[in-house]
Symmetry: C2
Subunit: 349 residues, 2 copies
């Protein structure tokens, strides 16, 4: 009988944020791939596209004209998944099988810059600082609305991630309930805080900074790492070194550091397969329900689907949907590969 070798042997890892396991199959990266290839557009985008509903001055689906904005620009989503209407509702608490409740919310779109062709890694740090300040403002404004208890800031980048317009933009869905994944995360953070009187993610980050093997980038205020329990091949997480519960607590210096690490991480991503690297990213932070939420720690997730090249992604399908998430390379290997990537964007080399 051999001793367990985490770099070679199939194993499961535990995710203490979601209280779930992931199956890791290090040897499986070697299997050949004859399946679907993604089509990627290598077409050079114009700085301004007259047919784009996000470009400055253009008309949106609802007939409204975008202003001639010069940095980031926010508007209400024309096809929001939630509505603001207050709805009368009597909860039938005895229900087990047909439990439903109305949900109120607001969806906004955040254009990152007037430039149709500039993704995060190609923007200047100052431009990214602007986006962060927009996120801060939106978190505050939306969070101040009495029925809004959670503000989800996220970005879907690339058509493979369901993004339907290449003009760089993110979204914000603010709503009355805590979404499932956030509720689970909060439960884990809270349990840990009650038990240890410490912050789970602060303790985790400290342990990772000592081990070093999964750290991708570190600066004075933030680290970007591949979590020990990552499910996507090149999944990462950005965590602030200081205990911060929400984005509005950042100092001006921290905003700059955050913008810098965002630029570096997304640059490394693009350089990995010499492509505009698709992902969904999003911020997890304290809810806006009026609580103090010391158990919370600001962090940002990046979930990129690509596995082997610009066109071959990881499919989270059959076993993953019915059983559990499964990955083919170890997080340590992914972190090493990302670390090696240059901080200079491949288009500028």
């Amino acid at each position: 009988m051999r001793n367990f070798d985490i770099n070679e042997d199939p194993h499961r890892r535990y995710n203490p944020l979601l209280n779930e396991w992931v199956l890791v199959s290090p040897h499986r990266a070697k299997r050949p791939w004859q399946g679907q290839n993604e089509t990627i557009s290598t077409e050079k985008l114009p700085e301004y596209d007259p047919t784009c509903y996000l470009c400055p001055g253009n008309v949106r689906a609802n007939g409204v004209n975008n202003p001639n904005y010069e940095s980031s620009f926010v508007f209400e989503n024309d096809f929001a998944a939630m509505k603001q209407d207050e709805i009368m509702f009597e909860d039938d608490i005895k229900q087990t099988f047909f439990k439903a409740q109305p949900e109120r919310g607001i969806s906004r779109v955040v254009c990152f810059s007037p430039r149709h062709d500039l993704t995060l890694p190609e923007m200047e740090v100052e431009g990214i600082e602007n986006i962060i300040r927009t996120w801060q403002k939106e978190y505050t404004d939306l969070g101040n609305i009495d029925y809004i208890n959670h503000v989800q800031i996220f970005e879907n980048k690339g058509s493979v991630m369901g993004c339907s317009n290449p003009h760089p933009h993110g979204q914000i869905w603010a709503q009355s309930s805590l979404p499932t994944q956030v509720e689970k995360t909060q439960k884990s953070l809270k349990d840990y805080f009650i038990k240890n009187n410490r912050n789970l993610l602060q303790d985790y980050l400290k342990a990772e900074l000592i081990k070093e093997e999964r750290i991708v980038i570190e600066n004075d205020h933030f680290a970007a790492l591949v979590p020990f329990w990552a499910i996507w091949p090149y999944e990462t997480m950005i965590i602030s070194k200081r205990h911060i519960t929400r984005i509005t607590e950042f100092t001006a210096e921290e905003v700059t550091s955050y913008a810098t690490i965002l630029k570096q991480l997304t640059t490394k991503y693009d350089n990995l397969f010499n492509t505009s690297f698709p992902y969904s990213s999003g911020i997890h932070q304290a809810p806006t329900d009026g609580g103090k939420h010391e158990e919370w720690q600001f962090h940002m997730h990046f979930y990129p689907p690509l596995l082997r090249s610009a066109t071959v992604k990881k499919f989270m399908v059959g076993y993953e949907m019915l059983g559990e998430s499964q990955r083919d390379i170890t997080p340590e290997k992914s972190a090493a590969v990302l670390r090696e990537q240059s901080d200079i964007h491949y288009k500028n080399k």
Copy 2:
């Protein structure tokens, strides 16, 4: 203030199997789609493909020849996600952040028939009965191996679901641990059983058969329905009317009924968009850990990604990954649409 209208107003629904919520946005189906379209192959497949590693008589990646099989055929996956090796391992139970354990398992591939071109809906009922008997045999054989505690039977159909060979086949991943989704399901079933001394899914099915609005197909022994809490646009579940914990308990009559409902359901799926309808499907049933598991109820999930047409799927991305699953049409509407579909395959009309 209006009264809550579940057919029109954004709302959340509760999934008592996974203890999770889903966001339902009935009005959102109307939004235009400018995003990625899937490429679908409309190429007519040959009955036998000399380059296919699943066709009878052909050579597989490991150099082994397939037999000239005549019904279904099972072999060990050449690129398995788990290995059978017994590994020495000392559990560090004090670990919070770096918890890992070796996992042993066996992966098998189940070719549905020698025909390269025959998907489930196009097969005869007898052929599907054969597949079910193969699943029964595999559940028994794999389950009897002492370290195997769970047998996951599933199918990835279509390249959009990561299937890399169009020769109709499914997979079986058998392993020592209970996968995350199964463990969650078991917890819900058990909690309900302890509290009510009844079976959650049996009670749910009875309630659905009275309401009728989400039933797609019903026969003497099974029903196919769109769960109240479905996340995928045309997600369905097949449940047996009799309380059955595992596939090996089926009578010969039930095997025929199950084969029949499988053929009908997949035929309706294909007819919906006149395409070979992609999905991941899989069976949830009692683990093979030696327990009796009265709390369990055999059921089969279908998770199909298509939303609007043969080429436009639902993307489970940003908000869905970070927040919670979101759907654009109600389960009741989906069930009605599926119910309307003919039981005769569009290719035979």
